[in-house]
């Protein structure tokens, strides 16, 4: 379970550009939910993710993971149980290192950092198998530098690295936005499969309303730091793209978009 309680978030406090984004904001995501979060620009979608992961800290309020208050936890501590895929495909992998090295790195997440060899020959088959399941041919590119991969391939690699070790929560930050439509679809299918197979609790911020309605079991629409639409379960399943689009256009017009 992930929860934001009574969050107060102010950007550039004490300056002329001070902007209060959240004031008393709350959101609760129970285990097993796959939440799609949509909203206008500046609605706080990405800030929400950053608050959960610990990339930014709120001026007030609490962040909870299960029964722990993690508000004071540094980002790296939170990321032990949370996996995050970024919008920029280059953000989740090390460009100068090979796919094998990247996978080995991810595999060492909970291991002791010592002078043992960084890559293990015996694990290579296992990594190949993991990458094969991505369906993008990565299993044959183990010795290539991650930097030579295309955007979609890097995103897939990032996802493979993410789930190599057990995680409970998956944060997806517009992770298909920088990809071409076909690759985006592939990555989205991958995402859905991973979430279902591993029973992850996932939060996905997206601009793509079609994805938001087609995938996941909860839909949240945000506007100016607040939730204007929140449908879960059957109600969400019944929601059609046209309904959401209408509401979305309204709030966008309100903002002058």
């Amino acid at each position: 379970m992930l929860e934001l309680k009574e969050i107060r978030l102010v950007y550039n406090p004490g300056t002329a550009r001070e902007k209060c984004l959240f004031d008393g904001f709350g959101l609760r995501v129970p285990d097993g939910q796959f939440v799609s979060i949509v909203g206008s620009n500046g609605s706080g979608k990405t800030s929400l993710l950053n608050l959960i992961c610990g990339t930014i800290l709120p001026q007030g309020g609490h962040v909870r993971m299960d029964d722990r208050d993690i508000t004071a936890w540094p980002e790296h501590r939170r990321l032990r149980r949370i996996g995050r895929i970024h919008q920029n495909p280059a953000a989740g992998t090390c460009a100068g290192m090979t796919l094998l090295e990247n996978m080995s790195l991810a595999d060492s997440k909970f291991k002791r950092m010592n002078l043992m060899p960084g890559t293990d020959r015996r694990k290579v088959q296992g990594y190949r198998e993991q990458l094969r399941q991505m369906g993008l041919g990565l299993e044959d590119m183990l010795h290539q530098r991650a930097g030579s991969l295309s955007g979609g391939q890097r995103q897939a690699l990032a996802m493979a690295m993410c789930v190599l070790t057990p995680i409970e929560f998956l944060i997806l930050d517009e992770h298909t936005a920088a990809l071409d439509p076909k690759t985006a679809d592939t990555i989205m299918e991958l995402t859905d499969r991973l979430v279902r197979e591993r029973r992850l609790t996932a939060l996905m911020v997206t601009h793509n309303l079609r994805y938001a309605t087609s995938f996941g079991n909860r839909l949240v629409m945000m506007h100016q730091g607040g939730v204007v639409l929140d449908r879960a379960g059957a109600k969400k399943a019944a929601t059609r793209l046209e309904d959401v689009l209408g509401l979305f256009t309204d709030i966008s017009v309100e903002l002058g978009n």
């Binding site: 790296h76 990321l79 100068g96 290192m97 090295e101 790195l105 950092m113 060899p117 890559t119 930097g147």
Partner: protein, 301 residues
Amino acid sequence: MTLALQSFQNALPSTLEQGFIYALMALGVLMTYHILDFPDLTVDGSFPLGGAVGSSLIVSGAPPAAALLAALAAGAAAGLVTGLIHVKLKIRALFSGIIVMTALYSVNLRIAGGSALISIPRDKVTLFRNNALVSALPEGAATLVIAVVMALAVKALMDLFFKTRLGCLLRAAGDNGRVVTALGRDVGNVKILGLMMANALVALSGAVLCQQQRLFEISMGTGATVLSLASVIIGVNLFQRLERMRATTKAIVGALLYKACYSLAIALGLLPGDMKLVTAALFLAILAVGYRKRKGAPADA
């Protein structure tokens, strides 16, 4: 011209000696600049720190190995301070190095007993004199052999290290810090470790140099960062296309080429005041050649 080349050739062994000793420093800076992407000015202070520590110990009769170990430890301490200032106090990388480098000037002076100069008497046991190893090697070749062996040994250890889990983590920290964080590790701590290792090597280089020239001079650190950065950049840029060549090899070659440029400038015997101009021209020539080759290579996706 032939005379100059002849002169350069005669001085080649000494040039190589200097090159391999400074290569130790280049390897250290490779760690911070090239791998961690951290421009570390601490080097201007940790290089003479190693020299001060090493020389003081040698003069007071300590065995060379102890002096070198002490230098390594001192360098690591300097790197630790820079790292802490940068990570915990969130001060910019460049400035953290400047702070420590400035402070080290006074520290080094104190270590040297308040004197700007330490002379190591001829009869003292150093890495290069009055020891069993030197006696076993042919006369005149001892210094070069020892310098080469040291550089290659350090290089081999570094290459091995970067294959270990910790080494890969360090490389990841410089490549993409977010990946390290995603692994649940504090990227700041990794950077601190890198700074410690790098400055330990730099201090080692200083200690070795002082033992070779039997002289510690307080200003020996001035320009050390520039010198080692130049060595690394020359090596890495010149051999950019040779992906199979390890970065550590490139750093060593870069250091050798750097010293060779100076040596060539001396051998050409132009107006003494133009020495630095000539050296700069030689650097430019090397990098320009490397650039021409690079123009064909495609950038990363």
